[in-house]
């Protein structure tokens, strides 16, 4: 048996629905159709009345989830693409994120954002919005990179009493396969050493973990041992694990698929510079997407985001210093 990243998302939702009567799924086309990506395939049939098609109204979809959460439900919201969450952003950042702090009433909603770029998706179906949401106090932002994590973290997202922005990467939907679903997992907020190495720390998350691993594989043939840290969640961000890795390697490259200004790579580098300055034997570096909207054409897209190749170039460069 083998299971894809996408199937794991479906299985996690099936389990959440089966285990907890407070869970329901709401989003455009999630019902009989099973979702634009089939992440809710057959769930409407298996859980009648609990997997519901929503109107084309992102703001109201999120708003309704907040109200339902106040009343004790645990909604899972699917945005058709992460990019469309800008239309529901007000409810996410100003309502869901502030509710507990203002009223002491928890807001346990999970918002699934099909995120990140794939070839031919263009400026409006490719965005990586984790940093935008991570900036707001009151939200948890998960960015699972593996089949195992996407499954266990989605279950954890539903169980957590706070709003979770669940950034699942569309590129991994079909590309990534595992033998089986996990039975245990790291707790939320813990990063993972995806590959140990002694020469340099490459911090990545989501799809970029796999570019980093491919790069590490390649550099291993040259005798360079790259340590790849998979952040798993970008908020909370596991600074300790990153610092411990840099303590071992003395070098840091932070890689992200999002735009250059701000974002996860800035936060990672800033934390290491502030809290682990003396651990660094060379200047840290960042590698992000290019400073333009995400291009449509595969030729441009392939250059816009970091790849194993461009990461390798950056790593070699750092190691020369």
């Amino acid at each position: 048996m083998s299971i894809t990243y996408l199937e794991a998302i479906r299985e996690a939702q099936a389990k959440a629905l089966a285990d907890d009567p407070r869970v329901y799924i709401y989003g455009q086309d999630v019902g009989n159709f099973g979702g634009a990506f089939k992440a809710t395939k057959n769930l409407a049939k298996e859980f009648p009345g609990r997997v519901i098609d929503a109107p084309l109204s992102e703001d109201a979809i999120i708003g309704s989830a907040i109200g339902a959460a106040i009343e004790g439900m645990r909604p899972i919201i699917e945005m058709q693409y992460a990019d469309f969450s800008t239309c529901g952003l007000n409810q996410i950042v100003n309502h869901a994120a502030t509710l507990f702090w203002r009223t002491q009433v928890a807001c346990p909603i999970t918002i699934r954002l099909p995120s990140g770029g794939t070839a031919g998706s263009g400026p409006f179906h490719s965005q990586s919005m984790e940093a935008l949401y991570a900036t707001y106090p009151g939200l948890i932002v998960m960015t699972p990179a593996t089949v195992e994590d996407v499954y266990s973290m989605l279950l954890e997202a539903v169980a957590i009493d706070d709003p979770v922005i669940f950034c699942e990467h569309k590129y991994l939907y079909y590309h990534l396969k595992a033998e089986a679903l996990p039975t245990e997992a790291l707790p939320t907020g813990k990063a993972r050493i995806a590959r140990p190495g002694r020469d340099i720390t490459v911090v990545a998350y989501s799809a970029m973990v796999h570019e980093a691993l491919a790069m590490a594989e390649e550099l291993a043939t040259e005798g360079t041992e790259v340590e790849v840290v998979d952040l798993r969640s970008v908020k909370p961000l596991d600074t300790d694990t990153v610092l411990a890795s840099v303590a071992r390697t003395g070098r840091l490259l932070a890689v992200g698929e999002a735009w250059p200004w701000g974002g996860v790579t800035a936060e990672v580098v800033a934390r290491v510079a502030c809290e682990g300055f003396d651990l660094l034997d060379a200047p840290p570096r960042r590698l992000n997407a290019k400073e333009t909207p995400v291009p449509f054409h595969p030729n441009l897209w392939g250059t816009h985001r970091p790849t194993a190749r461009s990461i390798a170039i950056a790593v070699r460069d750092i190691l020369r210093q």
């Binding site: 929503a54 109200g67 959460a69 009223t103 934390r271």
Partner: protein, 352 residues
């Protein structure tokens, strides 16, 4: 009863039956009037405290809108949801908010429901069905809809959710999406629009074009009512009726009340821009005065009773203010500064 302007726009109302408690009756009217009075007098007090520099942040009052607001609060019951907006002091009290909650919030007491973290009209106790508005107008509509959806999921019965908004708020995307979603789900949502002719300084001519906002009801496939917001009896009847229709499965109800904001947008605003003609017209009448007149004319209350109610309200207000003023303000060193319910996942400050 004053000329009956009630107009069911979409569907004829089932005639208001006098056995049902949705319409006009003496006890309800008297009770509503007392909440209105308490709301009016307490807000006058907050406004005075504001002018005396005793209140941080703005004060936004519901003067002229008490009849409408109280009708919402009083038509709801335990188990219902109420998401008031900025001009709903009367409805809040009628729904069950304690005057002390309100006063503590205005006066910055640490013991208020928001503990200084949020202020004035943003207070609420969501666990008790009394939602705490965010400022972004329209946002509470889908939120209430979702709460109603949850109640349906949980198998509750006979519940209603009500929320209020202004003429300006009807122009938000949130209003549209929220009402439509409620219609699609056929939720028992009562959406009360107070067309008080201004959104801050903006007149309705810059806000919408239809003759009456209730004309929107048809486009959402919901039942709609247009009414005179200055008449307590009409408000009680129409709102009460709509609440019961929602409760008994007729889906969302859109109520549009016509009235005038009898003052500035907030206490900082002298409202110089309000059209003198509107002030002098029927919509510019003070619902509290009209209700008082109605009460006396119908012999549902005596002058002496009214005086006593007023004195009682003032006492309550003085008590609440005195209590709140004795209480400690929030102390930054006692706040945990953690935004998450899952405390251990809250991030500390890095790089400091």
């Amino acid at each position: 009863m004053s000329p009956h302007k009630l107009r069911a726009v979409l569907q004829a109302l089932s005639p208001t039956s006098s056995t049902k408690d949705t319409g006009l009756n003496r006890e309800k009217f008297r009770q509503a009037f007392r909440w209105m009075l308490l709301a009016r007098l307490s807000e006058e007090k907050y406004a005075n405290l504001y002018r005396a520099g005793k209140i941080q942040g703005g004060v936004f009052i519901g003067k002229g809108q008490e009849a409408l607001s109280v009708s919402v609060g009083i038509s709801l019951r335990k188990g219902d949801i109420f998401a008031p907006l900025i001009r709903d002091q009367a409805g809040r009290l009628a729904f069950g908010e304690s005057l002390l909650d309100a006063t503590r919030t205005y006066l910055g007491s640490r013991l208020g429901p928001m503990r200084g973290r949020d202020g004035n009209v943003h207070r609420g106790r969501p666990r008790e069905g009394y939602f705490a508005m965010i400022s972004h107008l329209g946002a509470m509509i889908p939120t209430v809809a979702g709460a109603l959806l949850a109640k349906r999921f949980k198998g509750e019965k006979d519940f209603v959710g009500a929320t209020c908004i202004g003429d300006g708020g009807t122009s938000t995307g949130a209003f549209h999406e929220g009402l439509n979603l409620a219609a699609v789900e056929k939720l028992p949502l009562v959406l009360v629009v107070a067309n008080n002719h201004y959104a801050y300084s903006t007149p309705t001519s810059r806000q919408f074009v239809c003759a009456d906002l209730v004309e929107k009801a048809a486009g959402y496939g919901v039942e709609g009512y247009s009414l005179d917001g200055t008449s307590l009896s009409e408000c009680l009847e129409v709102v009460g009726n709509a609440v019961e229709r929602a409760r008994s499965g007729n889906g969302p109800q859109l109520i549009v009340a016509t009235l005038l904001r009898l003052g500035g947008h907030g206490e900082h605003d002298d409202a110089h821009y309000i059209d003198e003609k509107l002030k002098q017209s029927e919509v510019g009448r003070d619902c509290l005065k009209l209700a008082e007149k109605f009460l006396l004319e119908k012999n549902w209350g005596t002058k002496a009773e009214l005086d006593e109610w007023r004195a009682d309200a003032l006492r309550q207000i003085e008590d609440a203010v005195a209590t709140a003023q004795r209480e400690p303000h929030p102390d930054p060193n006692l706040d945990d500064w953690r935004p998450l319910a899952t405390q251990h996942l809250s991030e500390g400050h890095h790089c400091e």
